[in-house]
Point group: C2
Chain length 189, copies 2
DNA sequence: CGTCAAATTGACAAGGCTCAAGTGCCGTGG
DNA sequence: CCACGGCACTTGAGCCTTGTCAATTTGACG
């Protein structure tokens, strides 16, 4: 309902890898709906207000209301699409592009959730968390953020992010929102 | 039904990132079941024999047979779990561990599909494809494979992979199969 | 004003990439 | 049966991006 969360896994040597971010309105645990055992965790990044539902009740609801089931399923598939994009992001893009891409996604999803536009997005993550999401160290995240600032692409101030030139930033990030599968509001499917 | 496939995305600069491998028996396109537009592609790595079903028929089947729907859903969730593990693999593990981990997963899934044991697994990928899966160059993949061979962990010969000491290799790879959610055969859920 | 976590910066090390050359294997054609 | 061509695999040298280590600075808050 409110606040920010992250989904993450731990590596054997204690490293944390964030595999997705979540904003108000997101379904947080659909990924485990039909799995017996959790393979990752979701944790709050800020104070969070949430609604908790027993899995069994959710499964029951889906059985009785297939249309709701389809919606949930679709939502889970979109999350999976985001995971795939993140594999690409972490595997193939250099540090600057990678961070820019992550920020683009976050801004777009924040907007979609009605949490402010690109000119003024709340960015509640520490640089270490951004590093955990991009497979970089916080030191290097800092360097790259500074570089993006110096290039006039973004502005940062106390937990806020401002994208100064969305088109240019989008190009730097090689960001294409198609993988988010945001549905055009006024088009029937 | 037969053969090997890979799921991949392209980056803006033409780089390929493989996001998962598939063996005989896998459902290949459940990831797009409720999405309007494909965000990635699946391609054959070897000659392949497959069964193609129209999405609409599949959706129809699910509507009429909810139990089958649940099975498909579960399968899609397991794929998503694999994507998450790959984000971790590519984001946080060094080259040697990363390749070893990928090989471990492949061996385990090959075994589960009844395609031979760890002592003799068909490995149909070129080193370049292994690089595309791990976010490395084929040159570096080659060096790491050589190192794993030199350490006596694996043996390679013309498309075959032999893990010499599974326990040791598993440790090197920091591999824990939990994320594959392979269900114990004889236990009711 | 003190405290503590986060952000910042610099110097240096290193893992992985690039470029380039060479080798081995296998299918094809003579 | 052998020669050839192509692709994957190997290997070496040097560079570059990112990591490591360590010291400061900044900012929020009590």
């Amino acid at each position: 309902m409110d606040g920010y969360a992250a989904r993450s896994k731990l590596s054997a040597d204690g490293g944390r890898q964030i595999v997705s971010f979540h904003v108000a309105g997101d379904m947080l645990d659909l990924q485990h709906l039909f799995l017996e055992r959790a393979d990752h965790s979701v944790h709050a990044v800020t104070d969070v207000e949430l609604v908790w539902m027993p899995m069994a009740a959710l499964r029951d609801l889906i059985a009785r209301q297939p249309a709701i089931g389809t919606a949930f399923w679709r939502d889970a598939l979109i999350d999976a699409s985001i995971f795939r994009e993140w594999v690409l992001n972490v595997g193939r893009r250099d540090a600057r592009t990678r961070i820019a891409h992550m920020l683009c996604e976050f801004v777009v999803r924040s907007e979609a959730a009605g949490l402010g536009a690109a000119e003024n997005t709340r960015l509640p993550f520490t640089q270490e968390q951004i590093g955990d999401a991009t497979g970089l160290t916080s030191v290097h995240v800092n360097r790259m953020l500074r570089q993006l600032s110096d290039e006039g692409l973004i502005e940062r101030s106390s937990g806020m992010l401002r994208v100064r030139d969305w088109d240019r930033f989008r190009k730097v990030a090689t960001f294409d929102a198609a993988y988010l599968h945001t549905q055009p509001r006024h088009v029937a499917t």
